[in-house]
Symmetry: C2
Subunit: 322 residues, 2 copies
């Protein structure tokens, strides 16, 4: 009999869940609005409902456990979620207990959403050939996860992997946490958009045709679009961002001796306009004995990778983490 787990992506807007078979991957998936403003009891009921739907759709007794990728801080045991951004009223919730009281004694494992995405990439995405890699997610913020020998490296409290807040220029611009010159201050969507607007306002870049007057709505997707259309200034701007990414990753490689980097998230859609300059810059910021085997690879799977990672969390149980 095939064995399944259910992976859940607990987001501020949508709850997503998938029935996953260990070798086959994603079999069924479903989503429902989170209705986060209704508070934790409502959200937990919603999770229980979509999990039950997937259990009902699978052979009796074949679902081995539930894995959940959640925002916020997760305790060491992988049971509670604290202060999740976008989920008002949560404080600290023991998600394992709450789901077991609704669904019976299925094993439940909770982990930080960035780490879960890393695990999904490791077992079902472009990370499969690599035992260890660092995942960087370029989106609204710049997130990350460390996968070490196919396990999540959690650090002392489970918060490891905050790559986006590592500083590449101590005197550089501030980001949302007031950290000077962190990677997010260059590569976070809002920051990259701002840098690009300033850089391109006085050029005759094609982004002027794509964005509104004065480039007030400029976003990284538009840079990519203009770059694809052959626009030099847009390509230069993405290369500027790629350079910053390469610098950041150099520090990461020196510290961890993990030489494969996997880049995901919306901004990574800029693809080689961003990643090729990062690949050129990376070895310049890595010590010579570690310059071989450097790789920057793009994860093209989107949200699916989070659902698969959450399911893998349940397959691996406590073995998912180091």
């Amino acid at each position: 009999m095939p064995t399944y787990t259910i992976g859940i992506d607990l987001g501020g807007t949508n709850l997503k869940a998938a029935l996953v078979e260990r070798d086959e991957g994603l079999c069924e998936s479903t989503r429902t609005p989170t209705d986060a403003e209704e508070g934790p009891e409502h959200v937990l009921d919603g999770i229980a409902t979509i999990v039950q739907q997937l259990i009902d759709a699978s052979p009796t007794g074949s679902v081995e456990g539930i894995g959940i990728g959640s925002p916020g801080a997760i305790n060491w045991e992988g049971t509670t979620v604290s202060q999740p951004p976008n989920l008002p009223g949560w404080g600290t919730v023991n998600v394992r207990d709450e789901l077991q009281s609704r669904l019976g004694d299925l094993p439940v494992y909770v982990e930080n959403d960035a780490n879960v995405a890393g695990l999904g990439t490791a077992f079902y995405g472009v990370g499969r050939p690599h035992d260890s890699f660092v995942m960087v997610t370029l989106g609204t913020g710049v997130g990350g996860a460390i996968i070490y020998n196919n396990k999540i490296f959690r650090g002392s409290t489970g918060a490891a992997g905050e790559i986006g807040h590592m500083t590449i220029d101590y005197a550089g611009p501030f980001e949302r946490y007031g950290i000077g010159g962190s990677a997010e201050a260059y590569l976070g969507q809002q920051f990259l958009s701002h840098h690009a607007r300033m850089r391109l306002l006085a050029t005759d870049s094609k982004v002027h045709d794509i964005a509104s007057t004065d480039l007030e709505n400029l976003d990284p997707r538009m840079l990519y679009e203009a770059a694809e259309a052959g626009d030099g200034p847009a390509r230069d701007m993405l290369a500027w961002a790629g350079h910053k990414l390469g610098v950041l990753l150099g520090s990461v490689v020196n510290l961890l001796d993990i030489r494969t980097i996997i880049v995901g998230g919306g901004v990574s859609a800029a693809g080689d306009y961003l990643l090729e300059p990062a690949r050129e810059t990376l070895p310049e910021y890595v010590i010579p004995p570690m310059r071989n085997d450097l790789k920057i690879v793009r994860e093209k799977m989107g949200n699916e990778v989070s659902l698969l990672g959450a399911a893998q969390l349940a397959f691996a149980g406590d073995e998912a983490k180091v």
Copy 2:
């Protein structure tokens, strides 16, 4: 019967060895010139000789194994040393096989010297109260080690912990590997001395009384001496360096979620003139949820920590590493 191991510090100038009892710590120690220029066979014979002396000085059969801290790259299995700087003609040497052929079948474990110092601090130094910490060694270079749950975090090939080459200013000054703005370009002994000379040449700092004309021989020890004598410019200079250390450590904490930092090495003798500014700067470069429990502690044990760490390597065997 007490159990012992022998810890060895394989240096370019001296071979040091110690008989260590698990709970008591260092019982006997010895040293001999490495005579590195005589090549690996000679050095290995020298190691075997001092090990045999320590075995002869201990109760028959009480020595359980040998641990060696070595420069250069160590393979995953902890048996071979490759391209150790300061040890000419080594290429790759299987130190385990070579010592076992000279000494019989005692277990032999080899590990990178920075990692071994970290392990020594974890089990016999100021790291004892902490399961996880990052060790930074401020000396000629800026080295480091990651101790995670009382084990050495090795990374993919055993080279993890190259903290000194992480960049804190991508457009900053180059260090010996051509990396721009790495920590070593500010804090490495030669670089710190150069920065200090430039900064202090045109001041009336007391270092002018301590160093030779034009401050050509200025070194960090002299800065510390002047700071102790109440010299403002020297204190400011050490605070400048401490700020750079704090920035660097912020990146380390964000990535690893390891919040205890242990600082050793000769330059750390500057003590709180250096470390207090680092402590002030660190939280400014760490994301708010990780700002509690930050600690920067000085390891005052010198070379002893390397001998104790090498001995611990032999006590723990493969369990010493993650």
